[in-house]
Amino acid sequence: MSQVKTLTVKDFKSDQEVRWCPGCGDYAILNQMQKVFAELGLSRENTVFVSGIGCSSRFPYYMSTYGVHGIHGRAPAIATGVKIANPGLNVWVITGDGDGLSIGGNHLLHTIRRNVNLKIILFNNRIYGLTKGQYSPTSEFGKKTKSTPFGSIDYPMHPISVAIGAEVTFVARCVDVDVKYQQYVLKRAAEHQGTAFVEIYQDCNVYNHEAFDYASDRQVRDDHVLYLEHGKPMIFGKERNKGIRLNGTHPEVVELGSGITADDLLIHDERAPEPTLAYLLSRMRHPEFPEPMGVYRAIQLPTYENLLVDQIAAVSQKLGPRSLDDLFNEGDTWVVD
């Protein structure tokens, strides 16, 4: 997927005017994506961005790669078709919390379990932006929106927990404005072979402004998020004086010092064959817990499209070269003369 002439960030910008609301978190993500593509030396012509419908789903128009702006919720399915038809392509899916989890939840689930080699980036702004502000499957319980003027009575769903329920091979999270860390996460996703699922906390400036302030505001965020590092104990806090300890199958927040040291803490293992640790991390939620950022899980499993290609090769080998005429003449035949 790399090519001789390395491209710059600008080379990944399309000629279309970017049309999100001023201040929308989507801009930051677009910029990081273009940066990551340039830095990884990826090519335009071998890349396809596929999206559904939503503000976030306009994303492909702004990348100078190939792209499909699909229909609502169906991007993972479209992308699966692209990948099967041409496994050599670098295929990214852009989706929103409504697009990917509401109408499109099932496709997401099945794409994940099949481990199709797609990078799925879910822009979670906890709202339906494009349709002007209804609550989404990730909106908080009790949230007042246009369609819930008296507060939502739906318990939200948590994208990472759901993805782990489907046994995703790569799952990670980051925040729109934390651009450096976002680049790291996007790069990790880009490098993964298999379905990489990334949740990005994204500010919808107009309909759900500051929903993620706790995790993005520099003043407070260090106490509210936990940066996961493979093989390292889980320490967090502005002073790096807090940690996560395991109590049976439950995590608990502890203060370091007075007898508790880093050795008592849970060690992150993104390569654990069992996804239980990742699941446990996905259940750590604000405000009770710091919310884990970074790579929850990254394991290797043969990808769907490789299995497919291999099977076709094996079958072709086994059945030998067969022509259309062989196919036509299969089974009982007879001659009329």
């Binding site: 596929v50 229909i71 169906r74 692209v82 099932n106 007879w334 009329v336």
Partner: protein, 622 residues
């Protein structure tokens, strides 16, 4: 057995043989009785023998009903002949009824004086009750109109297969082969096709192979030796076009057609589907042929299936999705996306009885409106319908050809009757089939994703091509550039361009032909799987000297340019459809030519007699 001449066949030692021009027979029994298999074997044997054949399997609802019940009856009808035929026959000349339930549900289709073979062993009190017989029909006299042959098929089978050493349940399972053997004898058919099949199918389980062989031969020999049958019948070879033949069901033919189209285009075949009766066999057939670079994708639902198909089309594969009516309902939103993105794909609808879940295993033609008119917005799609099982092969290739040439989704309609029915297909040499030209855009200079060629098609530029990176989607596109555009005039222009493109398909399909005179009293119009019965009815009426012609529409959208002109040449137009008048409505809507209709929504094909009666009524009513 309409026209029969008597003759003596020399190489058989005993009994008189009556020569027939054609015969229709039906195997009927419980779902567990293996009637589909017996029917298929009889079909293949007859076809290999050289008859023209046409078949009609009739499945019960999907789940196996309890043994012996009316709901569990499974039937398979074969019409075989020494002259070309188009239908499985209205009524049957011989019925094999493996149990009382099969007798009850099938006897009304046996002609007066027809042969009825019953398996007496199954006429037990329990089975009679399950079949809602108060009295044993074998004794009540109600079967008087028929030539009844009572054979203890199960008992004979059990006796015959003893040497194979199977358990009694497995032994009894061979009774369909016994029945088949008997019918083979009755119609003077060779056993070798079936023996070969048994060998290749059960070669690895010799006991089963042996048992089935024994049962088959026992049935045959029973016919030969028993005093039961005073005469046997013979249906000579048909004068089919010379060549090698095989028997194909519609679904098989369709699958092979798709593979052929992809090979002829030099591309991978992508088939995205979610199982649904009666379309699933296409998926099965294609999955078994992965070596032709067939990439089947069993999706999580119909929407995913078509969306993946759209993705595959964007990426450059020959892309097809198949389903039945309820599945098409789910795919319509995505078909709209394919129309807007102008990508080449084929959507196969194997129609079944509706509305809703309806009658999943039965045939119908009631999805025509859905195909042509069933989407939001102005959303035209070319629609083609196959006319016979083997024609599914050709229709599939044609659908792909048009999709690729015009950069458009194409809907291909077949139905349950075509899908499961079968007929002989003259095996073509692959060289007889024209290549499908695929031109992928290559040239970056001045590339415009929505610049059209002389027929209105936009270029097919696929990912991987440097310099042609472009984005498409479901929002209205700007003419030429393909950028998102909301301008009023552009929208009107694009709506017009899309309509014109589809209209242009008419320039690439054959002119409409009419069977019979090109003008006259009555024009029969049909489409899809009713071709055979309507054509047969037309032939009969013409033989009887009536001014009746037949126009069978293959492309329903657009129609060939000369259709209106042809319609206007007849005093009356009778549109025959397995729905309540969908094509009729559309012909009237387009041409304002008043038509009359023959409608049937019973989960079954037309019988020729129905059409003939309706024609007679119309001609009489002059």
């Amino acid at each position: 057995m309409t026209t029969a001449t008597t003759a003596q066949d020399s190489h058989h030692r005993s009994k008189a043989t009556t020569e027939l021009q054609h015969a229709a027979i039906r195997f009927a029994g419980d779902s567990g009785d293996g009637m589909q298999l017996a029917g298929t074997q009889f079909t293949n044997t007859s076809a290999v023998f050289g008859n023209d054949v046409s078949t009609l399997p009739d499945f019960p609802a999907e789940i196996r009903a309890p043994a012996g019940t009316l709901a569990g009856v499974s039937g398979f009808q074969i019409n075989f002949s020494s002259h070309p035929i188009h239908t499985p026959g209205d009524q049957v000349d011989a019925l094999i009824a493996m149990n009382p339930a099969a007798l009850r549900t099938n006897i009304k289709d046996l002609i007066d004086g027809g042969i009825l073979i019953v398996n007496t062993d199954e006429f037990t009190a329990t089975n009679l009750k399950l079949a809602k017989f108060d009295q044993n029909p074998l004794e009540s006299g109600e079967l008087k109109p028929y030539r009844v042959y009572k054979v203890p098929i199960t008992k004979h089978t059990l006796e015959a297969v003893v040497p194979a050493g199977l358990g009694s349940k497995e032994s009894a399972r061979c009774r369909n082969f016994y029945a088949l053997g008997l019918v083979f004898w009755l119609f003077d058919r060779p056993l070798d096709t079936t023996l070969n099949w048994i060998h290749s199918k059960f070669g690895k389980v010799p006991a089963v192979a042996e048992a089935n062989t024994l049962a088959l031969k026992a049935g045959y020999n029973f016919g030969e030796t028993a005093e039961l049958f005073p005469v046997r019948y013979k249906v000579n070879r048909a004068r089919l076009a010379p060549g090698r033949y095989r028997n194909l069901t519609g679904n098989q033919a369709l699958a092979i057609g798709l593979i052929t189209a992809a090979r002829k285009a030099g591309k991978a075949l992508f088939y995205g589907s979610y199982p649904i009766t009666p379309a699933s066999d296409i998926l099965h057939e294609l999955s078994a042929n992965k070596n032709f670079d067939v990439r089947t994708f069993q999706a999580e639902d119909e929407i995913a299936a078509i969306c993946a198909t759209i993705g595959a089309a964007y990426a450059g594969a020959i892309s097809v999705t198949g389903t039945s009516g309820p599945g098409v309902a789910l795919k319509q939103e995505a078909i709209g996306l394919a129309v807007m993105t102008e990508l080449p794909l084929v959507i196969v609808n194997v129609q079944r009885g509706g509305p809703s879940t309806g009658l999943p295993t039965k045939t119908e033609q009631a999805d025509l409106w859905q195909a042509i008119l069933g989407r939001n917005g102005e959303c035209p799609v070319p629609v083609i319908a196959a006319q016979s099982p083997a024609d599914c092969f050709h229709a599939a290739i044609e659908a792909v050809r048009i999709a690729v040439r015009f950069m458009t989704p194409v809907i291909l309609l077949t139905d349950g009757y075509l899908a499961n029915g079968s007929e002989p297909w003259r095996i073509m040499a692959s060289g007889e089939i024209a290549p499908i030209e695929v031109r992928h855009a290559q040239e970056a200079a001045d590339f415009q994703p929505y610049r059209r060629d002389e027929l209105g098609a936009r270029p097919w530029a696929i990912p991987g091509t440097p310099g042609l990176e472009h984005r498409i989607g479901g929002l209205e596109k700007q003419d030429v550039t393909g950028n998102v555009n909301y301008e009023p005039e552009n929208h009107q222009r694009m709506v017009n361009l899309r309509a014109e493109k589809v209209a242009n398909v008419a320039t690439q399909i054959p002119e409409q032909e009419v069977f019979g005179d090109e003008s006259g009293e009555l024009l029969l119009v049909s489409w899809g799987g009713t071709y055979g019965s309507v054509r047969t009815a037309c032939e009969r009426m013409r033989e009887a000297g009536h001014s009746v012609s037949h126009m069978h529409l293959r492309w329903l959208n657009p129609m060939p340019g000369n259709v209106e002109q042809l319609l206007r040449r007849f005093r009356r137009v009778l549109v025959c459809e397995l729905n309540m008048g969908q094509l009729q409505f559309m012909l009237q809507g387009r041409f304002c030519i008043p038509c009359v209709g023959l409608h049937k929504v019973q989960g079954r094909p037309f019988i020729v007699g129905e059409i003939v009666s309706r024609i007679e009524e119309l001609l009489g009513g002059r």
